[in-house]
Symmetry: C2
Subunit: 289 residues, 2 copies
């Protein structure tokens, strides 16, 4: 690439939970020369500076990325798509442009249109919280987490190596993937849990209209199963819009599963019911021993 | 009742997660005179004694409850039902018979048949873990948790007061409820989350048959949403069998919710979709601020 991570200025665009934590991790570890932040609100920049998450910040995208060797877009997916369209001419030759958006196919397709002097790569760290914003950011958010990287055909080996080095510098584990394959997998493992959690909360809320007591009985089971329903709506809407087909496929699979359980229960077929629930238990124990 | 909690011998029948934690809480706080444990396996009794969760233990139900002032049944629901049938003649006059089973209507109906010298009351602490067994037990499991008590018409005021005192002694908050109302509420807030979690895991497992990679991308969202799917199958099967109708009602509500979300997505109606997801988010934030 003509430069190493240690020599690089990294500009993080968007200082919410993900971008803020990324800036924090880079600053804390001293992995790169300089961390610049771009945010919509001056107050966010003030806070990021006082937390020492960034060396300098600006509300102007052009000013923030002008001297950057690496730019990381850390806003919701639709905003990333919009920025990819305008950012090309603002970047230095050889600049690595990465993102941390939750879906990858639409973003990588948009990245194909970037001018040739830019080195694009998609990114998606497999971590997060149901709370958002810089106040929730922490330098250890990415530690030991899988960080998916989706290079394009045009992405150079040097650019891929640099992206990997950055991911490792913040303590995460890089995993190279095809963007469409990534999107199908996260539909099942991340977006489906969100829709199930939201359905659970709304079903319980429907019940609460008849008997408010139900909320008093909510314990750790309900708390954990419903946690992601409190996630950021703008972020989730962008995910749903840009990963619609894979999410519909995952949703239909879950509906078939629920139908099967309901039918077993209706028919008092407890043998079949037990078999299916045993399967779920075994899978869960294998994934999280 | 003719005796106080401090004067009472409490016998806990079943030393798994719930019974073991109950015995531990009573022993640790010294709230009663003596804690006796009844378990199927001698090794469980040895462990419970060495942990100082019980003063004495036996594998014989009759021997364990003979001198008890309070007996607490802490086994899966169907086993509680079986024990209620045989335990009456084994109990001292005035003995308080309580349970910690997950459903209450079937148990309270069975308790109606107990001989008149027994004081029965149903109980259900709103806590638990996806792991079971005495090794997971801890004296603080019940701390600050809601502990539902479902007295029968025949239960004396003194027996209710004693049950409340016991619940408070282990740090929990007693909540008096009608058993049928309890069962309907936990169907929505506890049993439904379990079935959704199991469906999620099985849907992801179905996907994994095409692409095993999916498990590598499982992060905290999937982990939390699926956690209760790892719960004890015998316990859950008893719950499903004894709370079938309320669970079917809750399940159908969740299916309607999922159908609604799927239809919005199919029709690209992102306005309606956002509205429903916003509702879920608001409810979740109200229940767990």
């Amino acid at each position: 690439m003509g430069f190493t991570l240690a020599q690089a200025q990294v500009t993080v665009v968007g200082l919410g939970l993900m971008g803020g934590s990324l800036a924090a991790a880079l600053s804390t570890t001293g992995a790169c020369r300089r961390v610049v932040g771009v945010a919509r609100r001056p107050s966010t920049l003030t806070m990021a500076r006082s937390l020492r998450f960034i060396h300098w910040g600006t509300t102007e995208l052009a000013a923030g990325v002008r001297q950057a060797d690496i730019v990381i877009l850390a806003t919701p997916v639709q905003d990333i798509l919009a920025k990819i369209k305008e950012i090309g001419p603002l970047l230095k030759p050889g600049c690595l442009l990465m993102d941390v958006g939750s879906t990858k196919l639409a973003i990588c397709q948009a990245m194909e249109e970037l001018p040739p002097h830019v080195q694009p790569i998609g990114g998606h760290p497999m971590c997060g919280k149901e709370t958002s914003g810089l106040t929730m950011a922490e330098p250890d958010l990415y530690r030991d987490k899988v960080f998916v990287l989706t290079p394009l055909a045009r992405t150079s080996a040097g650019a891929i190596a640099l992206a990997k080095a950055l991911v490792q510098a913040i303590g995460a584990r890089p995993l190279l993937l095809d963007p469409a394959r990534h999107d199908r997998a996260v539909a099942a493992i991340s977006h489906l849990p969100y829709l199930l959690a939201a359905s659970l909360v709304n079903a319980a809320a429907e019940f609460a209209q008849k008997d408010e007591l139900v909320w008093k009985l909510a314990a750790s089971g309900f708390r954990d199963t419903s946690r992601v329903a409190a996630g950021s709506i703008p972020m989730m809407m962008d995910i749903l819009a840009t990963n619609r087909e894979p999410i519909l496929t995952a949703l239909r699979q879950a509906q078939r599963e629920l139908d099967f359980l309901a039918q077993c229960l209706e028919k008092n077929d407890f043998e079949k019911l037990r078999g299916r629930l045993e399967e779920a238990r075994q899978h869960r124990l294998e994934v999280f021993p």
